[in-house]
């Protein structure tokens, strides 16, 4: 381990280390964050949910948007996989279907950043996993 010789050194290490536990920090206060759940049951994975998830995580990170991306089980909309549920603070959750990379990009740009609704919303009569 290199010695920490100044307060600035310490802060640098802090920044590096923070990214490692950011996930934990964020999930400590989920209600203030954008929460994104990717349907990741067998059907979802088969239709590329993993890629979508990876893309979302990376892009959000890139743009420094504080969001928690988690996976959830099958949402019951297998026909529309991959499905993604987005909860913006103080708003009702919205579920999008057929989310590939392009769609994901659109969700970030339009819905998350500007709050504009876009196509592909699945009517909201579902339950989240936390019943």
């Amino acid at each position: 381990m290199a010695k920490i010789k100044t307060l600035a050194d310490l802060r640098k290490i802090k920044e590096e280390a923070q990214s490692k536990i950011k996930l934990r920090e964020n999930s400590d206060n989920p209600e203030q964050l954008i929460q994104i759940k990717v349907g990741m049951a067998t059907c979802g994975i088969a239709s590329g949910a993993k890629d979508t998830m990876k893309y979302l995580v990376e892009e959000l990170e890139q743009e420094a948007i504080d969001a928690v991306v988690t996976q959830t089980g099958c949402m019951g909309y297998c026909y529309a996989e991959p499905t993604v549920e987005v909860t913006v603070p103080k708003k009702e959750p919205v579920v999008f279907g057929y989310v590939n990379k392009e769609k994901a990009r659109e969700i970030i740009d339009m819905y998350i950043k500007r709050g504009e609704l876009i196509d592909g919303i699945i009517p909201v009569n579902f339950k989240t996993i936390d019943e």
Binding site: M1, I4, L7, K14, A17, K20, L23, P30, M40, I129
Partner: protein
């Protein structure tokens, strides 16, 4: 650098380790690599989550799913179902006792709702064996700030303004203690951390050291800076192997980073730390005894003054603080005295960690703002009394404290209120008793403890406590006389008035407070010869009701001491002088012919 998208936190505290948390961790890791997710999912052993009643606990992040009572056999399902498929394992979720619903997110659990975590902020959150995780949580920032931007006087003022009082029991204002030690002139001074934690059932300090050792190290360095000490000693009981190991790792990592050692952060401030091991005597938690024990002498208190601040370890000025006291320091420096003093009650600021135990649903470690009521702690956080029984009393302050009754449930908990109600804050043990507990036996239990732990130096404690215990024993054995209650009172008062150290001065408290609050129960024992709670065996009496007994001989055949006699098909009879009150006859009789009074 790998960034994991999912963290599985598993409690690596002593309690949970005992229930195989290591094995669970290994299996989780195995199934993670089996599923090829080793780069996506990280398993972190953290300190205690506090919810020990339901340990071991596995918390899945980012979705905050909180699994309780996890067994090694559950690891596969957690990985295959939750991690891979995103389907929480319902059977492992916590069930709300009132609504009977599963709760997946720990935030929704009553146990956590009323808690504010300052001293425990990192416990159950970071890997205590990884200094980077501590640094990521602002670790050593406070020390850095003190060393570079604040004078020792500034820091002391901040600590004084925060209103922080010692969490080791006495409640002495911490900033003031630092100031006193600072003002004693001497080339060599010491900072001592008291991690002896001897109260029966208490494990607050252990949990902090296991879950967040760096917070204590950082605070000790800050204290060293303030009082002018370059040497710190942690006195920790040898029965805390995990805490010792974590501390050692933490000290080593901090040394490697140069966060303790010489010329810290280039400021010229030196601070080195050493561990000293205690043999686990309660009285060694008393600061003068602790110091003598560290000096290699018999762990025995000496008269104060001189206080350790003036003449302590090796005769040098020594600042002794408790683990939890220290754990509050970095937060106070980082967030400021005002932030801290806004939490808590009028004269007791901040939070207090309690170890909830006894007849309560959610046994565990909690941290609540000062001023929280006992009712909130016991019913909201603690989930009420086990098995739906009636609440009877709660003992705070361990063997030095007293019991508080139903009428006192709405007292906001702080140093002064507890003292005024005949108990004390102590180090944070909180033991809940229900209708089945006999208060005379409870007093006897605590005295047994002090009796064992007295150092034997002074007469009132060495002999007086023994005599108190003997009288209590006599009462629970049904041989008490009415005058014994007065004798207990009188002797207790003299012991409190004359004992040398805090142990003896407080040891009669459980007796006095049970007599005060449950005097009727004492009277029942000595006058009516009854134990209302049915705990004192010698006061129980089994009888056979002649009219009901069929003479089946079942009881006769089962009595282990041959106390029952009688002819077949004729009523049987129990010889009271032989009966050992085991209750076998009572359980065996098919005709309910045996009564218990």
């Amino acid at each position: 650098m790998t960034e994991y998208r999912m963290h599985l936190l598993i409690c690596g505290g002593t309690g949970c380790k005992a229930s195989e948390s290591d094995e669970i961790k290994n299996r989780l890791n195995k199934f993670i690599s089996d599923s090829g997710l080793q780069n996506d999912v990280q398993v972190v052993a953290t300190g205690c989550f506090g919810f020990c009643e339901k340990g071991p606990i596995v918390k899945v992040l980012p979705d905050n799913t909180f699994y309780v009572e996890v067994k090694p056999g559950d690891a596969e399902e957690i990985i295959k179902e939750h991690v891979v498929k995103g389907r929480p394992v319902k059977r492992l979720l916590y069930t709300d006792p009132t609504t009977a619903k599963h709760i997946s997110d720990s935030k929704g659990m009553d146990f956590y709702k009323k808690q504010i975590r300052i001293a425990l902020k990192n416990c159950g959150f970071i890997n205590p064996e990884n200094i980077d995780e501590y640094i990521a949580r602002n670790g050593y920032e406070a020390m850095g700030k003190c060393l570079t931007e604040m004078s020792p006087e500034d820091v002391i003022k901040e600590v004084k303004d925060s209103g922080l009082r010692g969490r080791g029991g006495g409640g002495f204002p911490t900033g003031l203690k630092w100031e006193i030690t600072r003002n004693v002139e001497n080339e060599q001074k010491y900072v001592v951390c008291n991690a002896d934690e001897g109260d029966p059932g208490a494990f607050m300090d252990r949990s902090i050291l296991e879950g967040d050792p760096h917070s204590v190290i950082e605070a000790m360095a800050i204290c060293g800076y303030c009082i002018g000490a370059d040497k710190g000693l942690v006195y920790i009981r040898a029965e805390y192997p995990l805490a010792i190991q974590r501390l050692k790792i933490a000290i080593k990592q901090a040394e490697e980073y140069g966060l303790i050692g010489d010329n810290i952060l280039g400021t010229g401030f030196n601070f080195n730390l050493e561990l000293r091991y205690g043999a686990g005597a309660f009285v060694c938690g008393e600061e003068t005894a602790l110091i003598h024990s560290m000096e290699g002498l018999r762990g025995e208190p000496t008269f104060k003054p001189p206080f350790p601040s003036v003449s302590g370890y090796m005769g040098k000025p020594t600042n002794v603080n408790n683990v939890e006291t220290f754990a509050n320091i970095p937060v106070i420096i980082n967030k400021g005295a005002t932030w801290f003093s806004n939490i808590g009650s009028d004269k007791s600021k901040g939070t207090k960690v309690f170890a909830l135990a006894g007849k309560i649903n959610n046994v565990g470690l909690i941290e609540v703002p000062m001023g929280t009521t006992l009712r909130e702690v016991i019913y909201d956080i603690g989930g009420g009394i086990k098995d739906g029984k009636a609440f009877k009393a709660v003992q705070t302050g361990g063997p030095s404290g007293g019991c508080l009754t139903k009428d006192m449930l709405d007292i906001p908990i702080d140093y002064d209120n507890l003292l005024a109600s005949g108990s004390m804050m102590g180090s944070g043990g909180m033991i809940v008793m229900d209708e089945d507990d006999c208060m005379v036996s409870i007093a006897k239990f605590y005295l047994e403890f002090t009796l064992e732990e007295s150092c034997g130096k002074c007469t009132p404690c060495r002999v007086g406590n023994k005599r108190l215990h003997e009288i209590l024993e006599k009462i629970t054995e049904g041989k008490g006389e009415e005058e014994d209650i007065e004798r207990l009172n009188e002797l207790s008062m003299v012991i409190k008035d004359t004992a040398l150290c805090g142990l003896g001065q407080t040891s009669p408290n459980p007796v006095l407070s049970t007599i005060l609050n449950f005097g009727e129960e004492y009277k029942a024992h000595v006058i009516d010869g009854k134990c209302p709670a049915g705990q004192c065996k010698s006061l129980l009496r089994y009888d056979i009701v002649e009219d009901v007994c069929t003479g089946c001989t079942l009881c006769f055949r089962n009595c282990p001491v041959g106390a029952i006699s009688g002819e077949r098909r004729k009523p049987h009879y129990i010889d009271q002088s032989l009966c050992i009150k085991c209750g076998v006859c009572f359980d065996k009789c098919k005709f309910n012919a045996i009564t218990l009074t």
